[in-house]
């Protein structure tokens, strides 16, 4: 990915923007002519068009979050006359987005940690140790990649409800529990995490681990002090992948977090959108949308190379 940006400006025309014309027909390079230039122009037009198609709806949503409800209805295309910060206040407290935001952070801090820890543990063992049943466990994980989540929804609801009846740990689990939702995220992230990290652990050199074992290092220490740090690049890109996946998850919390106060952000926003039709507080909805969008935008701008590589690389491996 690092080479992508450097190649673009090498042969741009000089300052006045006019490409130098070929001196004589004999020195003319193939493919450069008025027709070519027209195609180039057209290409630029298409690219710009799609950039606008991508950004304008989002820009419009952001502008709408600063309007009054009256402006939103009567002048949807105009700029807001002032900055209605009150929209954000209403979204944050009255529409409960603040609570949802907190819920999302609680759930994700648990689910992301556990996914990466358990995922790398499982993947490491499957990648580096030969034992009976290794392939079987691996394929059971990978099979999860093609199972449609919707088939599991109904029984998963009951499994989660039943875990609430367990002695001792029951009160922490069950429906409307942060831990339950986090564990469900972990389970549904396992197939891809194990699949991806197994491939990654296989690429690490085996001489290191052999040497460490020779020196009397235990398997546990080998993993936590040597192999895990070595796998950092793979773990980081997969953690970004899982962060976005968990942050944006919609259908799983819809089933498990049915209590209004326990909703996570994407789910809460969806419910808010469904109810906005009656209350007609559109701008608070858009303010909530911007609040939900900002963390993702920040993560994306800071790590856009890694995010792109993580999301697309996952498909290819």
């Amino acid at each position: 990915m690092s080479t992508t940006t450097t190649m673009t400006h090498d042969h741009e025309p000089d300052g006045n923007g006019q490409p130098p014309r070929p001196v004589s027909p004999r020195r003319r390079t193939p493919g450069v002519g008025p027709g070519e230039r027209a195609i180039s122009f057209l290409n630029g037009g298409f690219l710009l068009f799609w950039a606008l198609v991508t950004t304008l709806p989002l820009l419009w949503a952001m502008l709408s979050s600063f309007k009054t409800n009256g402006e939103f209805r009567t002048d949807p295309m105009g700029l807001p006359s002032g900055l209605e910060w009150d929209n954000f206040a209403r979204a944050w407290s009255a529409a409960n987005i603040g609570q949802y935001f907190l819920n999302s952070i609680i759930v994700i801090s648990m689910s992301l940690t556990l996914t990466m820890l358990f995922g790398s543990m499982g993947a490491y063992v499957l990648a580096r140790y030969d034992f009976p049943g290794n392939r079987l466990v691996y394929y059971v994980f990978v099979a999860g990649l093609v199972l449609p989540v919707f088939l599991a929804l109904v029984p998963m609801f009951f499994v989660v409800r039943e875990t609430g009846e367990l002695p001792l740990i029951g009160p922490m689990l069950g429906l409307n529990s942060y831990l339950s939702l986090a564990l469900v995220y972990v389970a549904f992230s396992m197939p891809f995490t194990v699949f991806f990290l197994t491939a990654f652990f296989r690429t690490l050199p085996s001489s290191v681990s052999e040497a460490a074992i020779m020196d009397g290092c235990s398997h546990f220490r080998l993993f936590f002090t040597i192999m895990l740090p070595m796998a950092k690049p793979g773990i980081v890109s997969l953690a970004l992948f899982n962060f976005l996946g968990h942050w944006n998850q919609y259908v799983l919390p819809l089933v498990i977090m049915q209590d209004g106060d326990k909703r996570v952000l994407a789910q809460g926003l969806g419910t808010l959108a469904a109810n906005t039709g009656f209350r007609a507080d559109w701008t608070a909805l858009f303010a909530g949308l911007v609040i939900a969008l900002l963390p993702v935008l920040i993560v994306y701008i800071l790590f856009q190379k890694q995010v792109q590589a993580g999301l697309t690389g996952g498909v290819l491996k």
Binding site: G31, P76, V146, L151, A211, M214, A273
Partner: protein
């Protein structure tokens, strides 16, 4: 990394002798291996089995019952749910919509993705022998990809209001009125025959950028010399694309196709947010995922919902197997 040095630096013979000596007594690699493997596998396998695998297995059983989900007792009713499924017009609508998405979403998304990716990477001015991307291609890539990191919920809400009537802030209709095309204004989400196509457009909108980046990465790895040779031979843009670029990124296109097909079988969040739990006007925009959710959690018919789920499983598996067979055949032909 520092630990490699002692192993590599030590005379090879000595290490080998040490190793064989230890193997004879007991391999150090094997020492404490099984307790370790068990400890490491138990948490991931346990959580995966409890929350993901066991629901799938139970779902198939539940699909043969009349369980409402509200009571603990239920009857096994054999294939009754499946017979009901066959006679349920709403399910046929949902199935038809999923198939529309399955056919058109990958075609549309991958074509646009290939088009923009080739513009960005090899579509620049062709001066001299260098083949280059257009100016600002890295910025285009950042912008195009952004919808992919957004929650589907956000995308759904934004487009629900893009297509809303003018009196509810619908920006598309306002835009048409503004440029004088009043005739094109519509109650977009009020017309049953439009619904699934609108979902298709929104889905395409959010996935094109992903494929632009995916295909860009594949095109970047094509050696420049090939393009230079094609250029010197006087090959046109289109020929270069068809004869050089496309064959060399074909593997990526195939993988992308499978991934998009899986996405097309979903569509839950788009439909649920934009059209609601009943799939919009007359249920015309329904998809199977929404039907399952509705039957289970609005209509309390868990048995029936599970049978729709099984239908979806069969469909997904069929597609996966079909794809694998097609791909294998193609690979054989190429070899």
């Amino acid at each position: 990394m520092t630990l490699t040095e002692p192993a590599g630096a030590a005379p090879a013979e000595e290490t080998r002798r040490q190793r064989t000596q230890r193997t004879r007594s007991r391999s150090p690699m094997k020492r404490g291996m099984y307790p370790f493997i068990l400890t490491f596998l138990l948490p991931p396998v346990g959580i995966y089995a409890l929350y993901m695998l066991s629901p799938y297995i139970q779902a198939i059983y539940i699909s043969f019952t009349d369980w409402s989900g509200l009571t603990t007792d239920f009857n096994v009713i054999g294939f009754d749910n499946y017979v009901e499924l066959w006679n349920d017009d709403q399910i046929w609508t949902a199935l038809r919509n999923n198939l529309i998405l399955l056919v058109f979403a990958p075609v549309l998304t991958l074509l646009l993705g290939l088009f923009f990716a080739s513009m960005l990477n090899v579509g620049g001015k062709r001066r001299g022998v260098a083949v280059q991307g257009v100016r600002g291609s890295s910025i285009y890539r950042i912008v195009y990809f952004f919808p992919q990191v957004l929650s589907v919920v956000i995308v759904g809400i934004v487009f629900k209001y893009v297509f809303a009537p003018e009196s509810a802030g619908g920006i598309l209709n306002s835009l048409f009125s503004f440029i004088g095309l009043d005739g094109l204004t519509q109650l977009w989400l009020g017309e049953p025959s439009y619904l699934i196509w609108i979902v298709l457009l929104v889905m395409t909108w959010s996935f094109v950028g992903f494929y632009v980046v995916l295909f860009s990465a594949a095109m970047q790895s094509i050696p420049k010399e090939i393009y230079e040779a094609a250029l010197l031979d006087g090959s046109t843009r289109f020929t270069t694309f068809r004869r050089v670029t496309l064959p060399l990124v074909w593997d990526t296109v195939q993988v992308g196709w499978v991934y998009m097909a899986i996405q097309a079988m979903d569509g839950f969040a788009f439909v649920h947010i934009m059209l609601g739990v009943h799939g919009g006007v007359d249920g015309a925009g329904d998809v199977l995922g929404v039907a399952i959710y509705r039957e289970a959690f609005s209509n309390n018919d868990f048995g029936y919902a599970s049978s729709i789920g099984v239908l979806m499983l069969v469909l997904t598996m069929t597609i996966a197997v079909l794809f694998m067979r097609i791909m294998r055949r193609e690979r054989v032909e190429l070899a």
